[in-house]
Symmetry: C2
Subunit: 190 residues, 2 copies
């Protein structure tokens, strides 16, 4: 599926190609099997850097247009050097960005022109869990994440809310957080 600049765009979304992609996947479901990847290097202390370049999808190895690197550290109050956001903060970007992309796609498919989508994400976490000080009564992860969207466009309140709700129903990150995701860990030592 290649993007053509001739197609009209709604919200920056090429709706004709989006529907054509859906038809292509219906005809050949193997296209939909993807594997995303990151590599991470420890930089010292609680500081590390990840790199994204390639992924597998549409039955082939693919490369992102740009290589992207992101870093994490712990804040000084947690005895890190605060060189970058904490690992858990990246989950907040993930949920906001996934829902926002979905809102743009769903709105475009429904013929709604958006003029603004912004959000704030808050994640509450009690560090008694990860510090091992709760006797197991406090979980390690977020106790809850709250996403607050502000959406503007050429549709009424109910229509815009329905678009957000449809995005939630189709969101990969919403599902990854709210339903258990199996994580396996393998180790080699040198």
């Amino acid at each position: 599926m290649s993007i053509t600049t001739e197609n009209p765009r709604t919200n920056g979304v090429d709706v004709a190609t989006l529907f054509a992609t859906l038809d292509a996947v219906k005809g050949q479901p193997e296209i939909a099997k993807f594997q995303f990847r990151a590599t991470n290097e420890w930089l010292g202390g609680t500081h590390s850097r990840s790199r994204y370049s390639g992924f597998y999808g549409a039955m082939q190895e693919m490369e992102h247009k740009h290589v992207t690197e992101v870093e994490s550290d712990h804040p000084a109050v947690l005895v890190g050097q605060d060189e970058a956001p904490t690992p858990v903060e990246y989950l907040l970007h993930g949920i906001a960005a996934c829902l926002t992309a979905g809102i743009a796609n769903v709105a475009a498919a429904r013929g709604v022109e958006l003029t603004k989508v912004s959000s704030t994400v808050e994640g509450d976490i009690d560090l008694l869990g990860i510090l091992g000080l709760s006797g197991g009564s406090v979980r390690n992860g977020y106790q809850g994440i709250k996403v607050t969207f502000h959406v503007e466009g050429d549709a009424d309140d109910a229509t815009l809310r329905a678009i957000v709700e449809q995005s939630r129903r189709r969101s990969a990150v919403y599902d990854a957080l709210t339903q258990p995701t199996p994580v396996s860990i393998e180790v080699t030592t040198g």
Copy 2:
């Protein structure tokens, strides 16, 4: 808790301050209640940008040393512009960075000097879910995430593996992914 440069560091971790922080939290558990935050702005199509600056912790509003911005987009094969990694790829950084920080902290607390920690993370996802083409039989999120660590240091294989395992047990992101995390979504329209 302030970091002093006089304390010796193991793996870049100030172990004395780490243990002092644990003691401080034991004495006043309110210190451990944190809220992390991100704000996100839609840039058009499936492209958006998040910003991290402040957070709440240790009973006060705090600012990161640097403001960090990260972006996401969908790849061209999914009718995006591939300006940045997908939202789901940020989960892969999150799990790698969280486990890596924990490995450095746990190793330091156990007196093990590490010389290398690297990892690759792979997340398998079948897009039939988010495309709404599976009739509900395929989940939207990752079907599984696999983290492969390579760890080197002045300890034997079993000791290094035990450090990784302890990091997993105390990992916020591992818990956030493998156990259900409540996510609430609120909407205002303009």
